[in-house]
Subunit: 190 residues, 2 copies
DNA sequence: ACAAAAGTGTTCCCGTTACACCCATGA
DNA sequence: TCATGGGTGTAACGGGAACACTTTTGT
């Protein structure tokens, strides 16, 4: 997100002749963050007549899931872009608040039918971190014991023998998402 | 859907300068069927580079729910358009099969969180008809007793004192969707 | 008479929820 | 020693699924 025209807005770009919509979205994301191969979904096309005061513009919004560790601070500065907490989301330019709203709805629906959360976590993560992702996306609290009980039934979330000593004094077991196992039997339940 | 270029394709049109995407979709639908105020949702934007062999075209697909009784046969003929059963859906032009697929996924997800089915039925309908709509969209069979049990718990599906003698010899009670009641308490469960 | 669709309850099971305490460690 | 987050089990409940027979009436 970058400040523009006195109001904040989502970051965007124009689709080139020689690229698909998805390619364009990936290019813009790369220019902004230096990241490639990021989970990204189309949110939708926004086409009200007067959504841009200048010329007629139709925008296709995309939503990307970016690992909290993976972003390039300097690129953000260079483009005058900032991360904002959703709770602190200001009034945005034009219909960009609608885009955000639709993206969140889309995420909430998908998180219980697709293993999205791993896109937002490091390769190795603790169960508490995973739970935090769910709580953030659903914006509701989850019971720790019930959550961990469910996780245990999921084959492709594997406990490693490594221990994270950073986030807690006692140390927490690190888990990983076994993508191959998921691909073999892509039944999602959570 | 209309035959074109030797292959079948979805019916479409171009967005005018003075209309929004939604307006354009409604206009095209009206030209084709004579219908207005139809439930319609954007399916998504399709923008592969070579999806049209001629010039670069980006299409925004829409999905409409049309009451089985409400369509104008002559308009369909005039535009050389035909209804096809989904099971008989042929290979379509370009990425149109993807559009259909995405539309169906969208419908399946929405039907259990929104009262869609009434858009496909007459004002007064029997429970069997309603069940058929669900079975068609989900393409699975539903137990009659369980279905009717669930319907009984929904306040805004009201039994009328009218009886339909057309679809069965014994006659079936006609129900209606009370939109006002739903709007007051739009909690959907089915 | 019979074919065709309408209508009607109960039981079982499984998944979801609620809930509280001890453990290991760094500061 | 204490503050912090890690880790664990059980009981009650409720929603969903399975399941078969009688009724009415037009033909």
């Amino acid at each position: 997100m970058d400040p523009g025209r006195g109001e904040w807005s989502l970051y965007g770009g124009f689709v080139e002749e020689n690229e698909s919509l998805d390619d364009a979205a990936n290019r813009v994301l790369f220019q902004l963050t230096g990241l490639k191969d990021i989970y990204m979904k189309q949110v939708g096309a926004f086409g009200a007549i007067d959504r841009d005061p200048g010329e007629r513009v139709i925008s296709i919004a995309y939503c990307a899931l970016i690992n909290v560790n993976d972003y390039d601070e300097s690129l953000l500065k260079e483009h005058q872009v900032e991360w904002v907490n959703l709770e602190d989301l200001p009034k945005l330019y034009s219909d960009h608040n609608d885009m955000v709203k639709k993206a969140i709805t889309l995420l909430r629906r998908r998180i219980s039918s697709e293993p999205l959360s791993f896109n937002l976590l490091p390769d190795l993560f603790t169960l508490t971190q995973l739970q935090h992702v769910y709580e953030a996306i659903l914006s509701e609290n989850i019971d720790k014991r019930n959550f961990r009980k469910r996780i245990k039934t999921i084959e492709y979330i594997e406990k490693t023998d490594q221990i994270d000593k950073v986030t807690s004094k006692r140390g927490a077991a690190l888990y990983r998402f076994n993508k191959e196992a998921y691909m073999e039997d892509p039944i999602f339940k959570l």
